[in-house]
């Protein structure tokens, strides 16, 4: 049974995209410095969710796991956002340039210039524009290839059966996992950490990986519950939901662990060049910043710890929404702290841009859900997945 992408649902995504476009235009007419970071934060957030789709599929293939097979179209559909969000990311990086990245500014690496910054000049080997864009193209290219290949092989598997396409998927998944393990770190260094180019944190990549993983799990939960409520995915029951709930719970704790590890070492050492990052965020984003940490840690920890809570659709949806808001706020503060800094605000531009990207994301996901049957066929672990029981 294919998902029915109704005209009403299409309309909603168009309206959201329209709001995003208007927000972007008003932003550029007003203060263009506010728009670029917003575009980056929103697209980074949704691209991360798209990448979660790829991680989830690869992980399933590589570990020969059966539990997620019957709702595997959902992570597949999510992963298709990489095909759209990837190129958008490249556009934002190419056009945003020094509006986002201080180290790209004119003369900053030039000893003759009055803008010369010796610390940034010392990082020129890695932080220079040609290499930066080459890297960005490699990351996005690799991810897009994986998103395309995994989806195509999965559909062929359904069509033809057998084990050939499944084995090919495993090969793609293995290649992607190795590639992604490196690029998730380097891409978050490049795109997010280099905004605060003087500052660095060695676990920044894992921190972002945990963030995108938990956001993606939350989106998967929302989509699975939504599809089930619409009468699709009939075989999905509370056992499957419980598994997704466990992902949200576990990765939220990893995220909190990494956040705290990053925070505590810097807080303890109290070295001026390191604390600037947190000083900006704690002094000027105080309630948003700590609110985000509390929501992202406490909501899953206290609400999802019990087994029954993880198997209750209403409960898990509420926590998933909280987590998504929390992790978007995290991405927002990561980008805003280094770009607009003290001049941040949450207004039409910020909310509108987010809604715009939400519109694109929902459009891509629903279109891809509508393209192929939600009922999986011929997957070697299908039976195991249907009879999943804890």
């Amino acid at each position: 049974m294919n998902y029915d992408f109704t005209n009403r649902a299409k309309m909603i995504t168009y309206v959201l995209m329209g709001i995003g476009l208007i927000a972007m235009i008003t932003g550029f007419v007003g203060d263009s410095h506010r728009v670029w970071p917003n575009l980056l934060a929103s697209n980074f957030f949704f691209l991360g969710i798209g990448l979660f789709g790829l991680i989830f599929l690869s992980k399933q293939y590589l570990t020969q796991a059966g539990y997620g097979v019957i709702y595997k179209r959902v992570p597949e559909a999510i992963s298709q956002y990489v095909l759209v969000g990837g190129p958008i990311m490249l556009l934002i990086l190419l056009a945003g340039n020094h509006h986002i990245y201080h180290w790209m500014a004119e003369g900053i690496m030039d000893p003759q210039s009055e803008h010369f910054d010796p610390i940034l000049a010392a990082k020129e080997v890695y932080l220079n524009q040609p290499f930066f864009y080459i890297r960005a193209f490699i990351y996005v290219g690799g991810w897009m290839w994986a998103a395309y290949a995994l989806r195509k092989l999965s559909l062929q598997q359904d069509l033809n059966g057998g084990i050939i396409f499944h084995n090919k998927s495993i090969t793609v998944a293995a290649a992607f996992v190795v590639f992604f393990a490196v690029t998730v770190s380097t891409s978050s260094w490049d795109w997010i950490m280099s905004i605060d180019a003087h500052w660095f944190s060695t676990l920044f990549g894992w921190y972002n990986l945990a963030g995108l993983w938990v956001s993606g799990a939350a989106v998967t939960v929302l989509l699975v519950v939504y599809l089930k409520s619409q009468g699709y995915l009939k075989d999905v029951n509370e056992n499957h939901l419980g598994d997704l709930g466990k992902w949200m719970f576990a990765i939220s704790l990893i995220w909190a662990y990494l956040w705290f590890s990053q925070f505590m070492l810097i807080w303890y050492a109290n070295i001026p060049e390191e604390v600037t990052y947190f000083q900006m965020r704690i002094e000027h984003y105080r309630y948003l910043y700590f609110g985000m940490v509390i929501v992202n840690f406490c909501a899953p920890f206290f609400f999802l710890a019990s087994r029954d809570a993880k198997r209750n659709p209403m409960f898990i949806v509420a926590v998933a929404v909280l987590i998504l808001l929390g992790h978007f706020t995290d991405a927002f503060i990561m980008v805003m702290g280094g770009t607009v800094g003290t001049h941040w605000s949450i207004g039409f531009v910020e909310i509108g841009t987010f809604l715009g990207f939400l519109g694109i994301f929902l459009f891509v996901v629903q279109r891809s859900l509508a393209k192929a049957s939600l009922n999986i066929e011929n997957h070697p672990f299908l039976e195991e997945s249907i009879h999943l029981h804890h």
Binding site: F260, F263, M264, W267, Y268, A269, N270, A305, S306, R307, H389
Partner: protein
């Protein structure tokens, strides 16, 4: 099938029936069948955890998780009190110029210990609770009715059945493909 120690029918008895299985699927079917005929199962012994057996036997879910939470909170509170007394009240120390007279401002430094203490108390607490609750203690003799259940056989134990139940149970056990049925 081997039926040992078969006695002549008696009216009221407190007999113990042990049915042994070499297949966990047969065991599960038998347990479900017995339960649907409202025959009380004293216990089932098996060499490894049989998936779905606790549900089939109607055993309520463990409350060990609630204990774990309580122990973790106890550990958290104990560690917090300890550090508050040592580091703030009794002997404040200047470590890296941190404000040494405030618990809340030093909290990031205390969190790893709070975490470890919670885990320590939760882990040891649930293990000891489990031992106590299942009475697995040094010097306690084992309750295993047949040593073969530690090797390759599953055992269903039925006790205190009246005549009707007994005949019903024997029928089910024989039908279910038990390897051996012992009455004592």
């Amino acid at each position: 099938m081997l039926v040992r120690n078969q006695q002549k029918t008696t009216k009221k008895m407190s007999k113990v029936i042990h049915a042994l299985y070499d297949d966990d699927v047969k065991l599960l079917d038998c347990v479900k069948e017995l339960r649907s005929n409202e025959i009380h199962i004293k216990d089932v012994y098996s060499p490894y955890p049989v998936h779905g057996l606790d549900v089939a036997m109607g055993i309520p879910r463990t409350r060990l998780a609630i204990c774990a939470f309580i122990y973790a909170m106890t550990g958290l509170a104990a560690a917090a009190t300890m550090m508050w007394y040592m580091m703030i009240v009794d002997w404040p120390m200047n470590i890296g110029g941190k404000p040494s007279f405030s618990f809340i401002q030093n909290l990031p430094a205390f969190i790893p210990i709070l975490f470890e203490a919670s885990v320590f108390c939760a882990a040891h607490g649930i293990v000891l609770t489990f031992f106590l609750r299942s009475w697995i203690l040094p010097g306690v003799s084992n309750k295993n009715p047949d040593p073969r259940t530690t090797d390759d056989l599953h055992l269903v134990e039925l006790v205190d059945l009246d005549d009707n139940e007994l005949s019903e149970a024997m029928k089910i056990l024989k039908k279910s493909g038990a390897k051996e049925i012992n009455e004592k």
